[in-house]
Symmetry: C2
């Protein structure tokens, strides 16, 4: 039975692994060897990676690949993608190829504004609070200058600072809502530092405000933090072509286009479908988000809450047929950065930004939106024509064969066999066993 450990964070990496081995591994040597086989030989590089987080013991390998042939606003890109799920890069590449000779992807940015809030309680009348706020607003802004000056030099800073009365939602609850432009930085540190300064000043000013004191009204800060809800930080990507160009071996262009638009209508009508539909979009988005050192939890939270903003959870992609032209587009909130964070620290992230032609944050937003749209196009195309299992089962078989340590010859034989027989783990195991004993 394991015992609690003290001072674990101060142990060396080897000590941490020893502790794990003696408490949690079935075979101490084997478990330690698994961790250590993932260390990089270059000690300096490994140390760099170890220092990104606390209690690091090794590197988790996320498969990393390239989806080429993305024509985006007439420039040809190859998208770097970090993703453990098979079929995602194949799907992205297929979409890119499909749209390559049809004008490619057209993208733009609808906005780049982020926000943060000082959340506080006030137990007096809201009009008095507003009078107080108006009297201290300039002071609150001034108080952030130590931090905002360098951001302003880069063209960013605080866009607006407003009092929001939410006391109808929750008694005594108010916000200072602050909107920011953070240029190429994701801006979390900048935004949070500004907010904490504003909160401190707000608290101090309120404590000295004569009409609060004399009436025993109190203003108390609960917490201050940026918001990952970013409906003003949105990129779009669009593909379009005459419907005749959508024809496949099995269906006409018109039938394809109608079925495609219907698939989107269904995602808007059914939450069961919408969630999976958007999940597929995120396969493409997150893979590029990860590869460029951005925070996929922030992006996920922003996208799904945006999908739910009408009160009904819906698709974040849209399609229509107009005058014989099929159009398919995405409109998606993406608070991304291309400076700060991991972007300058992780050597592979740095290289990936180079592959993407060292984009500004708004440019990266458009590339990531494209990855999401491409992924969704491939998924819907497959779902409304052949179904998704054909491709998945092929990958599934490949994984099972690896697990069974099949030789190249065995793999070829198995792939032929299962081209007409349903793939299950048991069937694959049986096949390989009898092949080996033939």
């Amino acid at each position: 039975m394991a015992k609690p450990v003290s001072g674990f964070s101060k142990c060396t990496k080897d000590q941490k692994i020893e502790w794990l081995a003696s408490n949690y591994f079935a075979d101490a040597n084997q478990g330690s060897a698994v961790l250590k086989q993932y260390w990089n030989d270059n000690q300096k590089l490994q140390k760099l990676h170890d220092e990104f987080i606390e209690n690091a013991v090794t590197n988790y390998y996320l498969p990393f690949g390239i989806a080429p042939n993305f024509l985006i606003n007439d420039i040809l890109y190859a998208l770097p993608m970090a993703i453990e799920e098979s079929s995602v890069i194949a799907a992205a590449s297929n979409s890119a190829k499909f749209w390559l000779d049809k004008g490619g992807f057209k993208t733009h940015v609808k906005g780049t504004i982020k926000s943060g809030q000082v959340h506080f309680n006030f137990n007096g009348p809201s009009d008095l609070l507003r009078t107080f706020f108006d009297s201290v607003k300039a002071l609150l802004l001034e108080g952030t200058q130590a931090i905002t000056t360098s951001m302003e030099r880069r063209g960013g800073g605080i866009i607006s600072l407003e009092l929001v009365d939410l006391s109808a939602e929750l008694s005594d609850y108010y916000q200072i809502n602050v909107r920011f432009e953070t240029k190429d930085a994701m801006g979390a540190n900048f935004i949070n530092s500004c907010l904490e300064l504003i909160a401190t000043n707000l608290d101090r000013q309120a404590a000295n405000y004569e009409k609060f004191i004399s009436n025993n009204y109190s203003l108390s800060i609960v917490l201050s933090i940026l918001s990952n809800y970013v409906p003003e930080c949105v990129a779009t990507a669009t593909v379009s072509c005459p419907i005749s160009l959508l024809a496949t071996e099995s269906i006409s262009g018109l039938e394809f286009a109608n079925k495609f638009v219907r698939a989107i209508d269904i995602a808007n009508a059914s939450v069961q479908r919408a969630v999976t539909h958007n999940k597929g979009v995120m396969n493409g988005i997150d893979a590029v988000v990860l590869a460029t050192g951005n925070d996929f939890r922030a992006i996920e939270a922003g996208v799904h809450s945006y999908a739910a903003k009408s009160g009904k959870y819906k698709s974040i992609t849209h399609a229509k047929i107009e005058d014989g032209i099929f159009s398919f587009w995405i409109e998606v909130p993406l608070a991304l950065g291309t400076v700060g964070g991991l972007t300058n620290l992780h050597p592979l992230v740095k290289l990936n930004l180079e592959i993407l032609k060292n984009p500004s944050a708004p440019q990266l937003m458009q590339l990531v939106a494209t990855a999401g749209l491409a992924q969704n196009f491939a998924a819907i195309k497959s779902l409304i024509t052949t179904g998704i299992q054909k491709g998945h089962m092929k990958m599934h078989l490949k994984n099972i064969l690896n697990q069974l340590e099949a030789t190249q010859e065995e793999k070829v034989a198995a792939i032929e066999h299962f081209s007409i027989v349903a793939v299950t783990h048991a069937a694959a195991k049986n096949f390989i066993n009898s092949y080996r004993n033939r």
Copy 2:
């Protein structure tokens, strides 16, 4: 200017890198060296990782660490976490330590049922469709037996299969809604294979149904796929203690508890806050999801849509004070697997499941829910007391110092200096430059 490439997927890994180098790297040799420095020396291991996805060129290192001291249902766990964000593992570890002597985390599973849908159009009267459905339902179920037999042996299978009329939402739109128990498998392949069989049979039966033919009614399948909306696949985790035990250096236990509950109330009142609140929960959840080879996009989609299920996007954690006892809990949909997918293939995933005592899928759901709750506890604790920037700026400074390739001596001097001065990139650079030239 780059040119489109054909047959990229069939190139060798070296050829792919050469193509990237000649089209996208500023310095071909240096870029290739960055990719190759992340290859594993063990060629067999590297080949295994390369085959997880298409067009793999290297491994993306995600930092991997351990958060110890999680007492969950009276058993002591260490949680493996793959996460690029600093502070997450430190926060998880702090929460674990905090609750260790207060009874730890109590968890349970509310359900493990997943669903999938056959989405189709029908242009006739819905009561006739229902009559048809009732007449073919047994046949549809029977048609899945080739796949369901082995799942049934493990205690899983199809739980229910029902017709859902959504024609009021979208004209002519109906679903066959199928509910599944997939035991320790995430079950995507199983569910999708079942659904595609059901769809094929439904299509065939409808084409031969006399009353559809004679009236020219047509039933047409649009698509069939599992749903990542899983409100029946839910785990809970709870911590609780007398409020007196919550006192910190700066505030009393009662004040802490009240402020904590208020922070949750605010997350339920403000979408700006709720999204960030849940994002923080997902920092903990995704780190364990990734480490155990599960699909974080599926989990993210399930959680955020669940947070929005009332029509208003809300917190997925909850808190209350009752009879002097503070309770804090999470109720979260988590469709996870501990067999299939990467779980048996990725050596580090396999080891991580061993660290977690080789859990069943329901057990893993509880461990992951705990990681989310712990993360949220640490975040709120920090937000309502010191604010989050203090810790973040310390990590921020560490990262800047690494980027500036500061020596150990320079780091010590810088940390001391910035304990009283605000951290910015420029200030840190200036400090190191003047330290070097002193």
